[in-house]
């Protein structure tokens, strides 16, 4: 599976997310901002996929449609943020360490 897949039964919307394309951190950060309006379960569905289950109870039709429309783009943004975070972690830590080292790390 190389794309996000949405499935639905009478109780849940299931979102299957390929681990090859998206990190766990990106998925969790993305889901975090939806916790106010959605009841969410997150799990490793298989070695290749995450599964996100969203409770349909108390979810309006508008919320459901909005979720399907926006989730993929939101997740893509969080994956981009995660790539920057991963690639720049060391340099960010070095900037902060140098800022408060009073010159002790000037040779780095």
């Amino acid at each position: 599976m190389e794309q996000i897949v949405f499935k639905e039964d009478d109780k849940f919307i299931y979102i299957f997310i390929p681990q090859r394309l998206y990190s766990k951190e990106a998925v969790l950060n993305c889901l975090y901002w939806k916790l106010n309006e959605l009841k969410i379960r997150f799990s490793f569905y298989s070695e290749k996929e995450f599964q996100v289950s969203i409770d349909l109870k108390n979810l309006s039709l508008h919320q459901k449609e909005n979720l399907k429309d926006t989730f993929s783009n939101d997740l893509l943004d969080y994956e981009l943020r995660e790539i920057v975070h991963r690639e720049t972690k060391n340099i960010r830590e070095l900037i902060i360490a140098k800022a408060f080292a009073n010159g002790a790390l000037d040779d780095l």
């Binding site: 975090y32 916790l35 943004d77 969080y78 920057v84 900037i95």
Partner: protein, 472 residues
């Protein structure tokens, strides 16, 4: 694929099909949608996209070497943004009495009748509090008298200031004195003392008479007392020595323009559009409950009006925007405790309560007065400086004071401009860590920051106005 290295940054989307990217030290660029993906995928070509490439390079979003040769300059910029950590506690609030002659609905404090003198700070507590204040490593201190209504105990204010001056002849700190008052008790004698001692006055003015009197309950006409006191103070001290603060109530939401015009009418050149602190005694009635969205709508209307005033040539500043814009447009930060990381509680402000209890902030004192000592750091009579400022309570709170380490904040582009507020988290969500996805502090600040960036991006004249606010 181009050869460059990413530098730490974050991004969000603006409403006008643009992406806003902000780096670790607070530099920003507004770019067309899709650019962030291109930057990350190394699709920006040095020759073909030379203007963008150089913008990204010179603003520290990319680097041509694994470690940017200017990393030491970046570290200095970061340190400058976080200058408040190095200075430590600068604002020392003396809640010198709980007595007050007003009965405002939104008051956070458990005010007492003006006759109950047992709710005043004793001289022993005053002296011990001053000793603690002068132990602060910060060379520039603000000693702010709050209440209740502090002018009910003006003699104690005088004693406090004289005692501070005497003790400071050894410590030699630069001390600014502020009295926060409703102005009903101001007179020539008080103003003469204020003038002789360079004391600043901060008063409450909620808007036109009908609104001010609706919010601020007083046996006489609060508005008329305040305006009379304001005029007298302006004449005596000069307009720049007295400032006014407003609190937004539910009724205020309908009158943003009228509130601003009231400030202009009274010779004030700025206004701080403050939302109500959504907890404690302030929420005793439904009267003061409104949503963050309602406040943000009010704020946007008011700010647009203020901008139109400035466009007509009148210099008038919205202070909350100025605090944020200073962070965005300059290397510096103003010492505003609500927007700091590490949080401004303890590191920027402490409150000495009339009973000697020391609290981490004004809102912490309010919780304390309601019987919740979560942010009670100690007592000036029984505890010393080290145990109050560096003790187990401060240490416990410090775990929640950095937005860099909070879920939701850790990938937020506004992190460097914003702050951590464990008191707000605890008071509104029952948890020091807080939940950003349903947090009014987060919702309000993200909305205002986004609005400021959109305004600056849409209209260069607005950008110039914002710059003039920051530079003045």
């Amino acid at each position: 694929m181009s050869k460059y290295y990413l530098m730490p940054f974050n991004f969000c989307r603006l409403s006008n099909s643009n992406e806003l990217i902000i780096n670790t030290i607070g530099d920003y660029l507004i770019l067309p949608n899709g650019t962030v993906k291109d930057i990350i995928k190394r699709n920006i070509q040095k020759k073909k996209d030379s203007e963008l490439y150089l913008d990204l390079l010179s603003n520290f979003f990319i680097s041509e070497t694994p470690i940017n040769p200017l990393i030491d300059a970046m570290a200095i910029r970061y340190r400058t943004k976080k200058e408040s950590i190095s200075n430590f506690t600068g604002l020392h609030i003396f809640a010198i009495t709980l007595r007050c002659d007003h009965k405002c609905d939104y008051c956070q404090v458990s005010r007492q009748s003006q006759d109950f003198k047992e709710f005043d700070m004793s001289l022993e507590v005053i002296e011990k509090s001053i000793d603690l204040m002068l132990k602060s490593p910060n060379d520039c201190l603000t000693m702010e008298f709050q209440g209740g209504e502090p002018l009910l105990v003006f003699d104690k204010i005088k004693q406090s200031i004289e005692m501070t001056k005497l003790k400071n002849s050894v410590t030699n700190k630069k001390i600014t004195y502020v009295i926060c008052t409703n102005l009903t008790h101001i007179n020539n004698e008080i103003l003469r003392y204020c003038k002789d001692n360079s004391i600043l006055i901060s008063c409450s003015l909620d808007g036109p008479e009908f609104l001010h009197n609706y919010n601020r309950i007083y046996s006489n006409n609060s508005y008329k007392s305040t305006i009379a006191g304001l005029r007298l103070a302006q004449q005596f001290l000069g307009e720049d020595r007295i400032s006014a603060l407003m609190t937004t109530t539910t009724k205020s939401l309908t009158f943003p323009l009228e509130i601003i015009d009231e400030y202009r009418k009274n010779g004030l050149k700025n206004i701080f559009l403050r939302s109500i602190n959504p907890y404690g005694y302030a929420l005793r009635t439904q009267k003061n409950r409104y949503t963050t969205k309602q406040f943000v709508d009010f704020y946007k209307k008011a700010l647009n009006y203020i901008i139109s005033i400035n466009l007509r040539g009148e210099f008038f500043v919205e202070d909350y925007a100025k605090i944020i814009l200073t962070k965005i447009l300059t290397p510096f930060s103003l010492n505003y405790v609500d927007l700091q990381s590490p949080s401004g509680i303890i590191t920027g402000v402490v409150v000495y309560n009339r009973d000697g209890n020391v609290y981490a902030s004004d809102e912490s004192r309010m919780l304390g007065e309601m019987g919740d000592g979560k942010f009670l750091l100690g007592n000036v009579i029984t505890d010393n400086y080290e145990s109050i400022f560096y003790g187990s309570k401060s240490s416990m709170l410090s775990k929640y004071m950095c937005n860099e380490a909070l879920a939701g904040c850790n990938r937020c582009p506004f992190q460097i401009y914003c702050g951590a507020d464990p008191v707000h988290n605890y008071a509104t969500q029952g948890d020091l860590y807080g939940r950003r996805y349903s947090n009014a502090f987060c919702e309000r600040n993200k909305a205002i920051l986004t609005f400021l960036f959109e305004l600056m991006n849409q209209d260069n004249d607005v950008f110039e106005i914002f710059k003039s606010w920051v530079l003045n």
